[in-house]
Amino acid sequence: MRRTALAALVSHWRRQKLQLFALLAGLALATALWSAVQAINAEARRSYAAAAGTLGLGSYETLVDPAGPIPVESFAALRRAGWPVTPLVEGRAEIAGRRIQVIGLEFLSAPRRNLPDTLAADTLSPAEIFLPPGIGFAAPATLRALAGQPGLPRLFADPALPPDRLFTDIAVADRLLEAGSGIDRLLLLPGAPDGLPDAVVPGLRRQPAESQGDLTRLTASFHLNLTAFGFLSFAVGLFIVHGTIGLAFEQRRGMFRSLRALGLPLRTLLALLLAEILALATIAGGLGIALGYLIAGALLPDVAATLRGLYGASLPGTLAFDPAWAASGLGIALAGSLVAAAHGLDTVRRMPLLASARPRAWAIVSGRQLRRQAAAGGALLAAGALAPILADGLLAGFALLGGLLLGAALLLPLLLSAVLALGAAHARRPLAQWFWADTRQQLPGLSLALMALLLALATNIGVSTMVSSFRQTFVGWLDQRLVSELYVTAPSEAEAERLRAWLAPRAEAVLPIWKVDLPLMGAPGELYGIVDNPVYREHWPLLAATDAPWEALYAGRAALVNEQLARRNGLHPGDPVSLGAGWQLPVAAIYSDYGNPAGQAIVALPTLLEHHPEVPKLRHGILTDDPQALSRALTEEFGLPPANVTENGRLKAVSLEVFDRTFTVTAALNILTLSVAGFAILTALLTLSSMRLPQLAPLWALGLTRRRLARLEILRALALAALTFAAALPVGLALAWCLLAVVNVEAFGWRLPMTLFPDQWLRLLLLALLAALVAAALPVRRLARTEPSQFLKVFADER
């Protein structure tokens, strides 16, 4: 009996191959998206320890000699006096026509976590490492460019390294840079005493470590957004699964009744259905994991490049298979399909033995039911909105997201129904009236697919608004941070004066970057002085400002403060900020400053000098058309140590280029979710088309050609997609706002300014219409080719 029942149940899928495909594909796609995002995130997190590695040398305090390189004897003296220091040399070498940044660490005393993985892999002998030619590490592309060059060490590819950088042992670097054993910096390793080693080596200066907190926070932000995206994608997929499973249940009502009437116990029927769902979910989940692995593998290099370029976090470009990750993917596929099937199973459980076998799903859902669903949607929206008020933290942010999306999706059918009713009320011609009414009648059958489309569109709008806003802020931040093409630090004040004189005829502008460290509003802070140069006005993103903030600043009447200082002390433009004993200025503007945990304020340079004449006057930003030439001249003609010159123009370009590759990731995920939604529409329309023959036949009999009918069907799909888009737009924007202003603030403590990008919406609208068109094409083609006899048969078979 059980076997017969099972055979009967399975026979449905044999007949409805497309439905089976839709179910498997929907669930597999949803799982794939979810697990791809998870895989990428997991891979990224695994790599953060390494991220702080080769590129994280800035996480150490350093000792430098303002007078020039530190002699090797000083290094030995410090070590012998118990100072845990490790030397670093750094400079540019011209190799194969490229300017290569060479970094040499002393491989024996350098901390393990800062050494490339290859070195730790234990495959190289000490002779290979330390005897000429030695070994070096470079990005794969750089490696290819340098291949075959004489005088180089044996090179290994390390994707964690930025381009045009060669990471090697100090002996090799010393040789390549002809540094004569001089050391540029000594990294202070954990356990180093406080203060200066003046008793051992006088004249050294201690430089603070670069802040690493930003890396973690910024990458965390990126990952949280990816996770949210993965989750939303999965929700979209679940809608499809829910729809397909619901349909399969509805279509088999008759079969269930027959089986029950033949004596199959309800319990057995339910168990069989459950087994069927679990089997399908396992197959689809397995497919999804494989697909997700492929997607993640394809996207990971881009993500890796993004993270590296954005934050300096290194990530291997390859994906390691993690069973835990696969298990979680399968788990969510099973859980998701159970959730989707719960309603169907419950219906079967409650179904009276002799219930009518007529498929109910395609009947017009009563207005009351529609209203009930909408009420649930409204309640979800309200609950979501209340969450951040009632609770704090990330969870509330996500509750808001969830409530918003699900609520909006549940409201959609009522909304569409109302709009269509409105359309019908204004329609005059009979055909138009029929069009509106018929569209409305189809709504219940399509509503699940349309809800999926709404979610996909809203997610797309939300995520791309967020990413674009993020990009804009980031570009602003880059500009602000890297406003000059070159950064130079003079070894002494006398040298600095000589440097300014030397630069005056050679550079467009020399911008002093002079700052004093001082407490600002009771916490450690920095006070900068800047000169009046248009680059600041043009490039610095101001989050909030008074009228004419720059004028007030340069007149010495006001100060700019960073977001951190403003947030911490509740400062708004116009409020006074205390800049030291007896010195207060009104805040002219607040600027974003993502790279810095400390409070910061900016005043005009003369104002700073007036209050702090002792400020170290060593660092300068240089604006120039040809940073490369000037940088070379600075080291070769002026004689500045290469480590004192930083070329940032190129770095900025690389960062931006790499950031834009984020869009590859987002765009790819966007298109995938949209295709999932398009697929849902296709399956819904296909199902409907076969059932709609009885409704279309009378129109055909009244003289409408099949071609005309087909055109109307296309129009209907487009109209529904456009209406859904119109509903998705506010939801998507609300979603973006939620991500930027709630989730981001809860997670990271700062808010990203939201910017609207209407051209993206337009593109998305076209994409949605295209998806609807493609989805409608197949059923419509079928309709246009339906034999007239088929239409006639409708009347013959009239029930």
């Binding site: 070590r79 012998r80 118990g82 002393e106 070195l119 234990d122 000490p126």
Partner: protein, 350 residues
């Protein structure tokens, strides 16, 4: 410390600390100087480094006693390992230095290590006055090695000791040419076993004043062991009578172990004994890091009517470093009581 890198470096240190890893390396001494039986030790030159040889060490062990009679042991070792048979100033030096320090109490064993390259002054040996150092670990004193100060410190232990020699330097083997296998592998080897020691050891609980006896070994070679020899058991014993014994047993996969010993009389006169005259027989083992380490031994040297048992003061004196080995103080019982040091390498986990 770079564990793997240190291990990699140690792999080319075919030393007593590395009896397992150097098969193949040990017998291949291309370009390196070889020990010469005709060489006569000359001082202070031979206290210094011999960069033309592949490996070398300055190895000091001491049996110490606290004010309450508790036994302690310390070890201070500077290894030199050459990747090429020369030294050159600057980062390109092919010489690599490794420091090991140990401190053993009856209940705890501490160990630490340091790595440095030659050519920079971070580690090295000078002869006049004598100084051997790596970072702030240091053994320094007169060019005769008669008076030394010794210091090392790590996160959880340290020591500062003064050493005074009460007897002469003692050449091992034949005038300092010490044969290590029947195949003729050998090293240059001499000792200063007559140090009286006073100073302070630092433990997590605090500083403890100590006194005791020390033993310095100086050895350099380019190919110390044969291919089939995969580990070594070495002892340095101070008998209450004032006599000393250096002995070692090289375990051989292909046959009986190769043994060698030097009996040092109270006035420092050495009597070398060739293979087979000394016997070392394990009596009990301790399970450490998956290996069975013999921590109690029967030692017999019939030529000196010696029959004693040595027993580890702390059986867990495991130097858990990049390259792990056992090294700790022992108590001697039998017809010649006293105390000494035991070192064992090459006991692989089973």
């Amino acid at each position: 410390m770079n564990g793997n890198l240190a291990a990699a470096c140690l792999l080319c240190l075919p030393t007593i600390a590395d009896a397992q890893g150097f098969a193949g390396l040990g017998s291949d001494a291309v370009g390196f100087a070889l020990p010469d039986p005709a060489h006569r030790l000359t001082f202070p030159e031979d206290h210094g480094a011999h960069p033309a040889f592949r490996i070398e060490w300055w190895y000091l062990t001491a049996n110490l006693t606290g004010p309450d009679g508790t036994d302690y042991g310390i070890q201070w070792t500077l290894f030199r390992s050459a990747l090429a048979p020369f030294e050159e100033a600057g980062w390109a030096s092919p010489q690599i230095w490794l420091g090991n320090a140990g401190l053993t109490t009856p209940t705890t064993h501490f160990a630490a290590e340091k790595l440095a390259r030659g050519g920079t002054g971070q580690a090295g040996v000078e002869t006049v006055p004598f100084a051997a150092w790596i970072d702030d670990w240091r053994m320094a004193g007169t060019e005769t090695l008669d008076r030394l100060t010794l210091s090392a410190s790590a996160e959880d232990f340290g020591y500062e000791l003064t050493l005074n020699a009460t007897g002469p330097l003692v050449p091992q083997g034949e005038d300092g040419y010490s044969v290590k296998s029947a195949g003729g592998q050998a090293s240059h080897y001499y000792s200063q076993p007559f140090y009286e020691i006073a100073g302070t050891i630092s433990l997590p609980e605090g500083d403890i004043p100590v006194t005791g006896q020390g033993w310095l070994d100086r050895e350099w070679s380019s190919q110390p062991l044969a291919d089939t020899q995969d580990g070594w058991d070495w002892i340095s014993l101070h008998f209450d009578s004032g006599a000393k014994l250096m002995g070692f047993r090289l375990r051989d996969r292909s046959g009986p172990p190769f043994t060698s010993a030097t009996w040092i009389s109270t006035d420092g006169t050495p009597t070398p004994y060739s293979d087979g005259e000394l016997t070392m027989r394990p009596l009990a083992t301790t399970d450490i890091a998956g290996a069975k380490i013999p921590t109690r031994w029967q030692i017999d040297l019939p030529a000196q009517a010696l029959s004693v048992e040595i027993d580890a003061i702390n059986p867990n004196a495991w130097m858990d470093l990049s390259f792990p080995y056992w090294e700790g103080p022992v108590r001697i019982t039998g017809n010649q009581p006293g105390r000494g040091y035991l070192e064992m390498t090459g006991y692989a986990a089973e």
